[in-house]
Amino acid sequence: MADRAMFRIWRGDASGGKHQDYTTPVDEGMVVLDAVHRIQARQAPDMAVRWNCKAGKCGSCSAEINGVPKLMCMTRLSDLNLDMPVILEPMHAFPSIRDLVTDVSWNFRVKKTIKKFRPRAPDAPDGTWRMQQADVERVQEFRKCIECFLCQDVCHVLREHHKHDEFIGPRFLVYAAALEMHPLDVEDRVTDLKDKHSIGYCNITTCCRQVCPEFITITENAIIPLKERVVDRYFDPLKQLLNIL
């Protein structure tokens, strides 16, 4: 591996900005976040970057590395072509705050609009519930989500069409799926999914699934089953007939 690398980092805020080049020494095993920290400590002390765990567990360090939405702490320099400058940019689907940091507060507001968990009454003698591992596994996949919002960043409905006011995005479809398929939950979110959360905007491009650092099968396991529930209720002619009768 080369012992120096150049990083072309977007610096700026909501009013605009530009790329700036930084060359820094690099060592074996380093990840992109390490390089950013090194640049920050030695060359650009006021550079803005979010991070916490440095191990792919908290979902803070999302950015676009050579145009691909990724976690900076899980992207090893040895997997990048260091003969060229490495381009680092903030996520594009959210407003800029500064440098690599974006305003992701929209996501937190969206979550609140989804009906919360409502369990059925406890039915085991000890006042709790019994659930089989096989039944919880499906939902455990969704609960692996670290809320990095990379899937939101890549989804064209948000990124290109800016439907933030209508569409909740793949992260929150996964969240809704986790609630809907939770073995204990008795709430009904199907109407909301269609009307309020606009699941119909998703045309299953699978871009979200491809960037998920937790390898959640967002489209096949979460979105498609939810779409089926919506279709079953609203577009299934037989059911509609039954509803009318």
Partner: protein, 604 residues
């Protein structure tokens, strides 16, 4: 005149990890107005990183377990310096707190009969840790977060508290700034709960994130509260050692709970060589017995890899120093070997330890189902912290409460794995309840603008010094080097005296710290703001460690290698003297009531 926005609450919770969120949920449920402040985005606090599990005597896997065994295990692990009242409440209430999470949507791994599954962990006599693979903390924080946002609390994300406001002796709120824009903020409050977590960033090799700069300890200390047990810093035996850039990142004890073994470069399981007397009765004699324990044989005793963390960390240190370490200065942790005993071992490992598999694969290029990991000790957890009342969690400052890692008492000289997540729930709940009660019983406190003014002025000094001032990152690195080298796993009088000198010198440099740019999301400024807290906490750790002239739990002194029964009667307290100097003194431990003594005797 400084401009700031003001957000008054009945109860202000500082920190949005497990302890803070649990406290806020409880307080909000009583109908008072609750605000939560945290340095990161919601859901990113340290709790999210916890892996192995949450300890609670649910007795789902081994029906011999109950609160008394859990209590005795916790006291033994803490070498009897624990606040026994907290250890009792913790053991009794943890099961309800865990079941409650399930009612809020958490999905723990299951037993065959559909109950919450529990796993083995160091120092716990029976399988006791409820878990979700190795991402238990994520499950916990997300459950609390998703429940909390519907409970009425208001959350101020990415805000840093710089100081607590006082009205006479009583707490009156907090003052700080929002990191995104750099605006000053005031949160007047009738009661304040500190749930700010730990101090691990004071050391170079650590499993902790940038947030762990000891803010809560320092805020409370400056407000007049006492700090307890500061000498007890837990070095977790298994952090990653290679590549250098990930050095310190945690490798969960769950690996050993699932049958992982430690070997030196001779291939020897060195943990069998040195088993402390306190644990002889409970530890396996042979490798075979250890494996049978892992597989759930109730007649087998646990393998020595599951001894307490302080001990395992020192054994690893010894192997490395004796030249029996791995190429990168650690020892081998091997889980792949279980293929000798179970079919489908790789699948089993990936299912039980998915994030460890992922972490090593991505960061070190190692497949843990095939190869051994290289591991070594890493700074992990602060047993010490704010001294609180065992029942209410109130500090010695009226209206100021503390819960979670920032509070002291439950763990004594050494924490058992899994006892932190349960600590957050049990004492977060209690702190929230008692803080709400305090707020209801006491009217609003008076706000003294001058205190806010002073905090704001101090925080802006780095901009006056400008980019030519001392580099905040460099001061932090230098402190980390000093603490790691001089006040680490093995401690000595003269080294620690040198550390005090180094801390003094760094303080002088920190007074000249400078930063360019503006206040908007300026990481350099944020780092500069953390320095005073880290220096204060480092000084308290060093002074307490100097005073305790013995080795016990997490404190190992080469110049006093033995345990001294006399020291077993005391905790150490640090507080601010009249002239601002740090006073460090012995405080006798309250005698334990007869019925708890009897429990300990019975479990010996």
């Amino acid at each position: 005149m400084t401009e700031y926005r003001s957000y008054p609450y009945d109860v202000l919770v500082i920190g949005a990890g497990g302890a803070g969120l649990r406290a806020a949920i409880e307080a909000a449920a009583t109908g008072v107005k609750v605000g939560v402040v945290c340095k990161s985005l919601l859901g990113k606090a340290h709790t999210v990183m916890a892996e192995g599990g949450v300890a609670a005597a649910l007795a789902n896997v081994d029906d011999r377990d109950n609160w008394r065994v859990h209590f005795a295990d916790t006291m033994r692990g803490g070498q009897y310096l624990n606040n026994w009242r907290m250890a009792e409440l913790h053991a009794k209430e943890a099961p309800d707190r865990v079941r409650e999470l399930e009612a809020w949507g958490a999905l723990f791994d299951r037993t065959k009969d559909g109950r919450i599954l529990q796993r083995n962990f160091g120092g716990h006599r029976y399988p006791r840790l409820a878990h979700v693979g190795d991402r238990t903390g994520l499950e916990m924080i997300r459950t609390l977060q998703d429940h909390g946002i519907h409970s009425g609390m208001e959350v101020h994300m990415e805000c840093t508290v710089l100081s607590l406001l006082l009205d006479g002796g009583r707490v009156a709120g907090a003052f700080g700034y929002d990191r995104e824009k750099g605006h000053f903020m005031m949160w007047p409050a009738k009661a304040v709960v500190l749930a700010t977590g730990g101090i691990g960033r004071a050391f170079k090799i650590t499993s902790n994130s940038w947030e762990y700069t000891g803010d809560g300890d320092a805020l409370a200390y400056r407000a007049g509260a006492e700090l307890l047990d500061m000498e007890f810093v837990q070095f977790h035996p298994t952090g990653m050692v290679w590549p250098i850039s990930v050095r310190g990142i945690l490798v969960t004890e769950g690996v050993r709970g699932e049958g992982g073994v430690l070997r030196n470069s001779d291939g020897k399981r060195f943990m069998f060589d040195d088993i402390p007397d306190l644990y002889k009765e409970q530890t396996a004699d042979t490798e075979d017995e250890g494996w049978r324990y892992t597989m759930g044989d109730k007649n087998a005793r646990r393998p020595p890899e599951l001894l307490t963390r302080d001990h395992v960390a020192r054994c690893i240190n010894r192997e490395v120093k004796a030249g029996r370490g791995t190429p990168h200065g650690g020892v081998f942790l091997d889980i792949a070997w279980i293929k000798k005993h179970i079919k489908n071992a790789p699948e089993h490992i990936k299912r039980k330890l998915p994030s460890m598999y992922h972490q090593f694969k991505e960061l070190a290029g190692i497949d843990i189902t095939k190869e051994a990991m290289e591991v070594g000790p890493t700074t992990h957890y602060m047993m010490g912290g704010i001294r609180v009342d065992g029942d209410s969690q109130m500090s010695t400052v009226p209206g100021l409460f503390a819960a979670g890692e920032v509070a002291a008492g439950l763990h004594g000289a050494n924490r058992l794995g899994g006892n932190s997540l349960s600590d957050l729930l049990v004492f977060g709940q209690r702190a929230g309840r008692f803080a709400a009660e305090f707020a209801k019983q006491n009217g609003a406190a008076a706000i003294d603008e001058a205190q806010a003014e002073a905090a704001a002025a101090a925080s802006l000094a780095p901009f006056e010094h400008g980019a030519a001032g001392e580099n905040p990152y460099q001061i932090q690195y230098d402190l980390q080097d000093s603490m790691q080298d001089l006040v680490g796993i093995v401690r000595m009088e003269d080294e620690m005296q040198r550390a005090l000198g180094a801390i003094d010198a760094l303080r002088t440099r920190a007074a000249r710290v400078g930063i360019g740019g503006n206040r908007q999301y300026n990481n350099g400024w944020h780092t500069a703001m953390d320095l005073d807290n880290m220096l204060l906490v480092s000084e308290a750790i060093t002074r307490a460690a100097l005073l305790r002239k013995e080795s016990r739990g997490a404190q190992f002194r080469e110049d006093y290698p033995g345990k001294d029964p006399e020291w077993g009667k005391y905790n150490i307290v640090a507080r601010r003297g009249a002239d601002g100097e740090m006073l460090v003194e012995k405080r006798a431990i309250q005698p334990m009531p007869g019925e708890l003594k009897a429990v300990i005797e019975e479990m010996k």
